[in-house]
Amino acid sequence: MSELDTYREKARAFLTSMAPKYAREARVGNTVEQDLALGREYMAAKYDAGFGGINWPVEMGGQGLTHLHKITFDAEEMQFGMPNVFFGISLGMPVPIIMHYCEDKAWVKERVIKALRGEEIWCQLFSEPSGGSDLAALRTRVEPDGNGWKMNGQKIWTSWAQYCDYGVIVTRSDPTVEKHKGLTYFWIDMKAKGVDVRPIKLAGGDSHVNEVFFDDVRLEDSQRLGAVGGGFGVALHTLMIERYIATDSGGFGPHLDEFVKLAKDTEINGKPAIEDGRIRSQIARNHAMRGGLDSITKRAFAMMMAGMQPGPEGSLQKLVAVRSRQKLSELAMDMKGNESLAFDPHAYVKTDWGASWLNAPTGRIAGGSDEVLLNTIAEKILGLPQDHRPDKGVPFNAIPA
């Protein structure tokens, strides 16, 4: 057995021991707050068992193992539905960024350990009403204020901000230069004076994203990450950190087995739906598509194990998986007919077709919309030209609003 297989078994044993209290089935009917409290407990237990910060340096409070160990653990953990959703962004991007850019290492180490144990949560304040896909169009501004800075403006779609202690943020420090060049990056205290977090209720009924308003918020210059005017580079670095995260060819919706089960239990024209050609065709097409995505993942993993850089085809995962989950969810609801009209807003998206359908659009927009992902594939992988950009080379304050 390879060392990674041994590690996988160890991970599974730990997760199995945690399951009775923390796994999805143990938390049915919980409120978000109850889940968050359980999540904090679970993260602490995970840290104490040596599974926190798996691929982070030991001197920062991590385990000093490889990225492969991390995705091995994540792939196992994903199957249990642990209450870790609140910590995904925190540990995925902001905390690694402060490890990289912050100079006060003792302070950083304290933050890292508290974040790993679920005691503190970090958010990422990038998107704004005037710029989601077009990140560099952001308008939240900072001005020099004595030996520090003063911040005013608004962010939006900030996941879990209502529960966060800290955040990382990109701001405009100079509106007189091109939009990418006038940005500066900071960490902020979410409990500071002038920070106002307002949850946004989404179409599916939950409120995990927020608007965050800043009214004369004071920032020390020691909170700056990277150079003044270097914020766009730090933002790109943030987005590049987790390129090979655990993926799900089901688009984070139900497994194809769930669809097959439904097709076996449902009748169309007096015959099992599984015998209906329309249903069979979709099962086959989805299986072939998901099989391809799974093979891409396996190959990326094998390449990393061999010390090679995985190919760019990994960038297809979210694009292909989530939009096909959306369509398959519609077909599953059609198959159930009027029985699909009953809806439970708290149902689990991986087992309930209605919940999967209603929440799928979020997956196609968050973390790079389908259109932005297609642009990235076209430009970065295939070498196609950029779109026409009328704001290119124009100072930010001269771009027509």
Binding site: E275, I283, R285, A288, G291, I381, L384, P385
Partner: protein
């Protein structure tokens, strides 16, 4: 089997691509489209000279003892070049029938000739619109075949055929020497495939497998040919992706390269996605050769590769506009090949059913 190509496999991929790039000629292929009953002999000479016919045949029978992974890589290069003869896949199907069949002497007689490229083979399973009819209309009795197989790829010139037949109520796979059959050429949209109706009237044939073993072997032969074909389809789909890309970065309209318009660049990005998903399925399927997972993996590969090649030929032509539909531009070589490969060795409808049968245990 590893899902990462080793150095030898990478060399096969590079070398087969290099040889075909140097020797294939679009003008020659275009002429052949209008000639019924002709294939591209320079391609076939190359295949034999390069040892591609011997690749997947065991060493004890004069082959190189390699497998589906290597043959798949060669097929991918052939697909990119819209290669001009169907014998590579057909010969592989026949050789697999012989290797796994019950007659060792028959295998010992034909495999060395197939490996050397002296003998060419084709596979005649389909009848009517069925890729593998439950009960074949072609019958086998007393060592003789009777009946007709329609539009067999390679049938016009192949020396031997592996035939799906009915032997007094039980399925049979038999090997027929085609010198004893009547061949009628089919004038097709893809004529280098050498489609012919094969009429058997007391044609001598030898049993390769009988009963359930024949049914099982026939499906395995089809799955193996489907994986080879899927590689060929991926090669074609990938070629079209880059033809489209190259055109989109050079052709200008409204003052900019057309590839700067999202309607074009997104279409090309989608073409890339289809190629990579199909390629990943092909790599996986080839590595599953001989395992219980093979049939399902082969169906995945076949379905995604058919979708990729059909879609990419449609979209590559669309991206080119008017020039794309001209005879001389030759994109229709791919368009024709995408369709002929989609229909040969089991169409999408057939493989969708195979996949769902295998996955769920439920038949339509």
């Amino acid at each position: 089997m590893s899902i990462l190509y080793d150095e030898g496999q990478q060399a096969i991929a590079t070398e087969s691509r290099r040889v075909l790039d140097a020797r294939m000629d679009k003008g020659r292929l275009l002429k052949l489209l209008e000639q019924v009953g002709e294939h591209d002999q320079p391609f076939w000479d190359t295949a034999v000279e390069q040892g591609w016919t011997a690749l997947a045949i065991p060493e004890e029978h004069g082959g190189l003892g390699l497998g589906l992974i290597e043959l798949g890589l060669v097929a991918q290069a052939c697909g990119a070049a819209t290669s001009g003869a169907p014998f590579l896949t057909g010969g592989y199907g026949v050789s697999q029938g012989l290797i796994q069949g019950s007659d060792a002497a028959l295998a010992a007689e034909w495999l060395p000739k197939l490996a050397a490229g002296e003998t060419t083979g084709c596979v005649a399973f389909a009848e009517g619109n069925a890729a593998l009819p439950p009960v074949a209309g072609v019958t086998f009795a007393d060592g003789k075949l009777s009946g007709t197989k329609p539009a067999v790829a390679g049938g016009l010139k192949a020396d031997v055929a592996l035939v799906w037949a009915d032997a007094a109520g039980q399925p049979a796979l038999v090997l027929a020497d085609l010198s004893g059959a009547t061949r009628t050429a089919v004038d097709s949209y893809d004529n280098t495939r050498l489609y012919a109706d094969l009429a058997f009237a007391g044609t001598a044939a030898t049993v390769v497998a009988l009963g359930d073993a024949a049914r099982k072997l026939a499906l395995d032969v089809m799955a193996r040919m489907a994986v080879v074909t899927a590689h060929e389809q991926v090669g074609g789909a990938e070629a079209l992706l880059y033809i489209a890309r190259d055109y989109a970065v050079t052709r200008k309209a409204f003052g900019q390269p057309i590839g700067a318009f999202q309607s074009i660049k997104h279409r090309i990005a989608e073409m890339y996605g289809l190629v990579e998903i199909a390629r990943a399925n092909c790599i996986h399927a080839a590595a599953q050769e001989g395992t219980d997972e093979f049939l399902l993996a082969a169906a995945d590969a076949r379905i995604s590769a058919t979708e990729a090649y059909d879609t990419n030929s449609r979209d590559c032509v669309q991206i080119h506009g008017g020039i794309g539909v001209t005879w001389e531009m030759g994109l229709h070589l791919h368009m024709r090949r995408a369709r002929s490969l989609a229909v040969e060795c089991g169409n999408l409808l057939f493989w969708e059913d195979v996949l769902v049968n295998e996955l769920t245990g439920e038949k339509a």
